[in-house]
């Protein structure tokens, strides 16, 4: 493995000079988003700087309970972000989304870290945190798309749901097309990404590993494993989110409860 070439802070600051190009273009075309760009840039730097300090400390401690606590925080932040973005009432969805997120993390980490990479210490911060973070980060986006499709479908096509509920006499059959649609819409972007990976995009994790000194072959093997873990994790998380949410979405008569979606 080659030595990692560090970027010193002055050089990193020089990197910000490149931002003058998009800012000049925004000014030229009178696109009034410069304050938003500057604020998000500042937020990105502060958030990542803080994460660097946390992670340095967490990696140094490398305690199972601290690492698990960090993952729990990631799950909870992801849940609240999903609920807000989908426009759901958080009181009804925190529990099902939490159970779905936690279950998918346990299954994926247990399988890929325990059986595929065969870590001696499953909670090793260097593997446990970034791999779980990648799964959760991807699940968040795909869950938002899938769950939005699901609840939008149910609320906009409720006549069809009630038609199917009586005529099939079975809530599983009545919901099947809504669930299938949600899974399809949720996973479609991931399928598209997998099919072109390496051709028109080089994934960030693999690039990071190569820049960090790993051989491209090792980086690619990790990337393949990560894509598998992301796809399996996203599918499990989305399906479980739907299944567990159903217990809170319908009343004992199978009717969609009022107030599931926040009034926009």
């Amino acid at each position: 493995m080659k030595n990692i070439m560090d970027i010193n802070l002055v050089d990193l600051a020089i990197g910000f000079i490149a931002m003058l190009i998009p800012i000049a273009l925004l000014l030229y075309y009178k696109v009034r988003i410069i304050p938003d760009v500057l604020i998000s840039l500042l937020r990105m730097v502060i958030q990542l700087a803080l994460v660097a300090f946390y992670l340095e400390w967490i990696f140094e401690m490398n305690q199972a309970w601290i690492n698990s606590l960090w993952v729990l925080v990631m799950i909870i932040v992801g849940i609240f972000t999903s609920i807000k973005r989908i426009g759901l009432n958080w009181k009804q969805f925190v529990v099902p989304f939490f159970i779905a997120g936690l279950t998918s993390v346990i299954i994926i980490d247990g399988f890929f870290l325990g059986f595929v990479i065969k870590l001696d210490y499953l909670f090793d911060a260097r593997y446990f945190i970034p791999i779980t973070g990648m799964i959760l980060g991807n699940s968040l986006n795909h869950n938002i798309v899938g769950m939005t499709t699901y609840f939008k479908g149910l609320s906009e096509k409720s006549d069809l749901y009630y038609f199917l509920l009586t005529n099939t006499g079975n809530s599983k059959l009545a919901l099947q097309s809504y669930i299938a649609d949600a899974i399809k819409q949720g996973l479609n972007p991931l399928i598209a990404t997998m099919s072109v990976i390496g051709l028109i995009s080089l994934p960030g994790m693999m690039t990071g590993q190569i820049l960090g000194g790993s051989s491209p072959v090792i980086a690619i093997k990790y990337q393949i494993m990560i894509m598998l873990a992301i796809f399996v994790g996203c599918t499990i998380n989305l399906v479980l989110s739907i299944v567990f949410s159903n217990a809170f979405v319908f009343d004992p008569y199978g009717r969609l409860k009022d107030g599931i979606l926040k009034k926009q």
Partner: protein, 197 residues
């Protein structure tokens, strides 16, 4: 048998009906009639548990409608709604959603009775008339062979000739309890029980 005892229903303080009582014997062909807004469609939704009464009880084939009995009750009902604008593109797709085999003979038999070619099951609902679409949905729902058939305005998109075909087709159904909400005189006249709201 469908039994409605002392049923009252209101929506947001507006009373729809009060102390409604009726009984429909098994095998009867009943119609609910009345002006718009009198609650004809609401009765059909009450019987399926989609709206619940303020007071009173509803029983179907001896089972009192409740959260516990609702699946058993729905399993005895074929529901043909008024809004045929279901977000489905073809009859075949609708059959898939209902778990009906594409080869189910009774669908073709009902289509024939209602004056339609079986090829229409593959036709895009947007490209056929409202009457054809309504008859396709009715044929598919009748093929479910449920004991009770609930229909909301089954003739709303049909011309006189098609209404007559529908009346004739329903005469061939035996041992079915039919309840429909309708404005159509010919359809109501064909019923052997009318519940006036």
């Amino acid at each position: 048998m469908i039994k409605c005892e002392h049923v009252s229903l209101s929506f947001q303080d507006k009373r729809v009906f009060d102390d409604l009582n009726f009984e429909i014997e098994s095998g009867a062909n009943a119609s609910v009639s009345g002006e718009s807004g009198k609650g004809k469609s609401s009765i059909l939704k009450l019987l399926q548990g989609y709206i619940l009464p303020d007071t009173g009880t509803i029983s179907i084939n001896g089972a009192k409608l409740s959260a516990r009995s609702i699946n058993q009750i729905r399993n005895s009902i074929a529901w043909i709604p008024q809004n045929i604008n279901l977000p489905v593109h073809t009859g075949i797709k609708l059959m898939h959603l209902l778990g009906i085999s594409e080869r189910k003979e009774s669908v073709y038999s009902f289509l024939d009775k209602l004056g339609l070619e079986e090829e229409l099951l593959h036709a895009d609902f947007q490209k056929i008339s409202g009457g054809q679409k309504q008859r396709i949905v009715i044929s598919i729902c009748l093929s479910l062979d449920r004991e009770i058939i609930l229909m909301d305005e089954p003739t709303s998109s049909l011309d006189d000739a098609s209404i007559q075909l529908l009346i004739n087709a329903f005469k061939t159904l035996s041992n079915k309890t039919i309840l429909s909400a309708s404005h159509n005189h010919a359809w109501i006249k064909n019923s052997n029980q009318v519940i006036e709201l």
